[in-house]
Symmetry: C3
Amino acid sequence: MLRSQRRDPNRLLPAQSGARDIARALYERVATRPIISPHGHVPAQLLAANSSFGNPAKLFVTDDHYITRILHSAGVPLEVLGVGTSAEADPRTVWQELARHWYRFAGTASGYWLEEALDTVFGIQDELTVETADDIYDTLVEHLAHPDNRPLTLLDRFGIEFLATTDDPLDDLSHHRHLAKTHPSTRVAPTFRPDRYLNSTLTTFAVDVHRLLAATGQPATFAGYLHALQERREYFVAHGAVSTDHGVEEPYTVDLDAAEAEHIFASLLRGTSTDAQRRAFSGHMLLQMARMSVDDGLVMTIHAGVLRNHNTATTKRFGPDTGHDIPVPTTFTRGLRPLLERYGLEPGLHVVLFAVDETTYSRELAPLAGFYPSVYVGAPWWFLDAPDAIARFRSAVTETAGFYRTSGFIDDTRAFLSIPARHDTARRADAGFLARLVTEGRITLAAAERIADDLVSTIPKEVFKL
Amino acid sequence: MLRSQRRDPNRLLPAQSGARDIARALYERVATRPIISPHGHVPAQLLAANSSFGNPAKLFVTDDHYITRILHSAGVPLEVLGVGTSAEADPRTVWQELARHWYRFAGTASGYWLEEALDTVFGIQDELTVETADDIYDTLVEHLAHPDNRPLTLLDRFGIEFLATTDDPLDDLSHHRHLAKTHPSTRVAPTFRPDRYLNSTLTTFAVDVHRLLAATGQPATFAGYLHALQERREYFVAHGAVSTDHGVEEPYTVDLDAAEAEHIFASLLRGTSTDAQRRAFSGHMLLQMARMSVDDGLVMTIHAGVLRNHNTATTKRFGPDTGHDIPVPTTFTRGLRPLLERYGLEPGLHVVLFAVDETTYSRELAPLAGFYPSVYVGAPWWFLDAPDAIARFRSAVTETAGFYRTSGFIDDTRAFLSIPARHDTARRADAGFLARLVTEGRITLAAAERIADDLVSTIPKEVFKL
Amino acid sequence: MLRSQRRDPNRLLPAQSGARDIARALYERVATRPIISPHGHVPAQLLAANSSFGNPAKLFVTDDHYITRILHSAGVPLEVLGVGTSAEADPRTVWQELARHWYRFAGTASGYWLEEALDTVFGIQDELTVETADDIYDTLVEHLAHPDNRPLTLLDRFGIEFLATTDDPLDDLSHHRHLAKTHPSTRVAPTFRPDRYLNSTLTTFAVDVHRLLAATGQPATFAGYLHALQERREYFVAHGAVSTDHGVEEPYTVDLDAAEAEHIFASLLRGTSTDAQRRAFSGHMLLQMARMSVDDGLVMTIHAGVLRNHNTATTKRFGPDTGHDIPVPTTFTRGLRPLLERYGLEPGLHVVLFAVDETTYSRELAPLAGFYPSVYVGAPWWFLDAPDAIARFRSAVTETAGFYRTSGFIDDTRAFLSIPARHDTARRADAGFLARLVTEGRITLAAAERIADDLVSTIPKEVFKL
């Protein structure tokens, strides 16, 4: 993994000297270990094409909704930032907007990652201000044009050993095939993300299901639909997939009998379903995914508790993923019970639960993962994969479930250049937490060393069956 | 702002020396800066009258329900403390009760503020015990009688530049007019608090609405009612108001069409409304308030999630605000969506969201304020404006939304003499948080200095349009 | 209380030297003070029989569902651990399983307690590994066979002054009578735990109620049922009970009139009740328990918010208390209101509220206990009685309610040998919290000393009326 030669080498570590020295030593053990990224959103196409990245504004601002949302909250219209428009915004203007509002990012994870990326990838350490913006922009243009900074070269420089993408079940995965042949040093694995074919509350559901059935030559019956999903899962497995991914507003499951499921399925396709039926069907399909995972071995990851596209006007004009997906109160204990009653003790099943509602950490996720061999507590995700939030996560989870029932870090990002920064943040935060346990006499230094090592290799490899 | 010469100058700052030195320097920058108090409950009448404060027992105990609730929980009947009774309790007895139970306040915010007030305002540093109580009481009586300790003199000594009161929409605001003329060094602004005229679940609703309509000469129609509210808002704006304040048990909004609103309004006045109608009407009026704020520019503050008057017998006997308003689980994401769908992107709208359910900080408030330019995360409020709670707030909010989407501190207090102590607490807590970010290499010292400054001036001025 | 001569004497205390020294001094004041254990699950029979403990595997693994659940989550079948089977598992195999997975307990409370118990009770400090497991096992066998390590001798060595058990209302309490005569140095008090006779959602409810009525000779009417409960409470009081204990999934209460209660009671016995009736009845009986507590003085403890027996298959095969009781979101404010409206101001009533949903600490429990003289905030419980969780608890509760509205530590354990370790953990954690308040200038050292003392004696004695 890349390292800055100039930034504070103790950044993110505990300030107190005893803990800091231990944390530093633990961090040093793992700082340059290969990156395992078992869940993220880098497009396989970006890697397969291996073109130069676009201009810095598009790369670091327009395409990163972590950044654009804060600029938007500061009053900068999304169109000025080039979001979701066919006409490209003037990149220097976009970059200047970022510079003008850069002080607002102080203390944010997004701000920290961007500084880290500029520094560790391109050696840029000047503070971004209205005055320095143009020079930094020019330097970045130069770097980005250089062949050394194309995606595949960076993949190696970043030391990324495994990278999961997130893909539509009907994707032909040709980019993954291409990468497997041309760039064997990194395993780039697809992830089966069937939300649009399972979530019957979406208005597009019937159309998407028909497309799925047509592509797989299955009849428009519930059995045909299940076969279609199964077939596409097999296709993904054959292309190296290790997991499925499920983004749900509510982690709700229900075990319907076949006749009931068939009946609702027909209503859905006819457009005569009720709210209750749609909720039940989506909940039942999450349970069906667990059943299929028992069969085909794919790890099931559930990302729960986010209301997508909070502002309709913005969605209509700029599309999804434009910064207004907002978490809601989340609970797993009752909602996942039908799934866990049915499959929770199945050998080999792995279900990784990710939450954006921190209250679930100590209340539900640690207790569930501390009993069910199939359940793992997903690492802090989305708004929570930041230093303080990681510390709160470890504090909330460890006393009940230890370290070995957690998933290892996932970066969950589209922002390829921020991957090393995000993993480095997690490694530092975990080193700091472990160091505190050592200084408080709760674990030995030897145990801390083993855990630090395992968190970046053994644990994610076990959880994601690598 | 007042400063103690004798108390530990590093109080509330981090204990670890590196962080403490930075925190101390950050705190010193802002320690004596003017106080901006954009939300509180000091009566304008108290300032306009500018009489001596009453006896110490009434001032520090009877009238402060933060104090009386803890004494009550210790078994002291409220009548012994003189709460809500026409017959005044013996002040020395009240003061002795406080002294007898003073050890129970150790570690509480209320206890800390009272010690701070006695020290910084009156130089009293003796510990309050049954033995010292009488002497302290006598000293206080002497101080309070002195002209230097009248409200307006203290207003200047406290360095209060801006003070918002909270007022009934039908208040004639004569005290504010008087203060504007006679005490121009502090801007004392009214705040439009229309709860009783909007919350149709209150049994007094119809009576209050009729009073509002009569006062404004409007007909008993929904349109007349809206005009009445609008007219009173204009009156407040003309008297220097900058914000409206809304205390709601549930932050729920709904966008009714005009006919439906008119229909429910009629039912409400006839007394034939249903529970569902009352909930819808109150939710719709919150949305109407946002519409009016778009027009007249008043900042909208929403204080959500408290069940008022938990104990009916106590309310009947002693009145409201007697210490048993208890928070409930709160969520904003879905409930505020109709309001934000309709007005959330309107230029100039400011909606400040205050919560007593901490779970909303990282889950909802920071994500909402990190997208909507109209939404600000309200500072820790009520039970949460204390050192540890402020640290948790900053930790929960900053990584997602930074500092510039938060409101700046509000003291929210009736206890005039505690205002400097409360702001000082926030300044120390924020300095400590910033110092930690500096020692952890997450922000530069220069950034921390700018933020420390902005938190006490630029930010509240921007949020509250001062 | 027992103390290790070899483990880090500063374990669990703050690492920062200033705070650590103060914490150490505070801890030293109370380290060897007698243990008051006002709520736990050690069987009176175990003490009365005073036999040698069984083999180490049964004692430390099979019988401790804190330990077996983590082994189960690691893939070890419960039958291999001897859980819930008549056929005993091979103890050496069980012990080896523990050793093989011991690294997974790093950072957990269970792991910490087990190490503490092995060390402080038996002087065993070797790390548990596959290699050392047999030797440690042999050493333990030897120790456990020694008369000095029988339950009653340990009760004295542990310095347990008061120990509450948890008992069925129909228990004849003969073991308690026996212990009162034969072992007067410890007061072993029964606790009245009537869940099965109150919770009408249980399928066994009618059968259990008939058993209760038969045992007390009461008629099958609601009045008879109330008399039966009252009579058994009196029996418990006569045998030294100080409290009742109520484990509820939802802290819900409702004040039914007598006719309605009688009507539902009849439906329940006839088996014709509805879901709504069962919920109402259970809620009403919690309120009735408060009424009886006003009369007979028993402290009422409510342990709320756990869904028991999450996995039905495991329950059927291995019984309850096998590691899959999982918390759910909990709220007290509205649910307890009917009880507190009716009895919350009654002199002498003590209601101690325990939660596993940490969000209730600052949001509800501290505000409730900061007003109602009858309400105490229960100490961190179940998954939360661990160092970090205790620190979060104190941070969340203290600023609103101080220390004197909390219950003092309860160990809530079946694992007799872990009692000193658990109390020691709480004493260290509280000392650390107090030390932080001192170093931050928030309380004086003298106040911290008084509080440290009171937390282990005055406070639990007051709350539990000892």
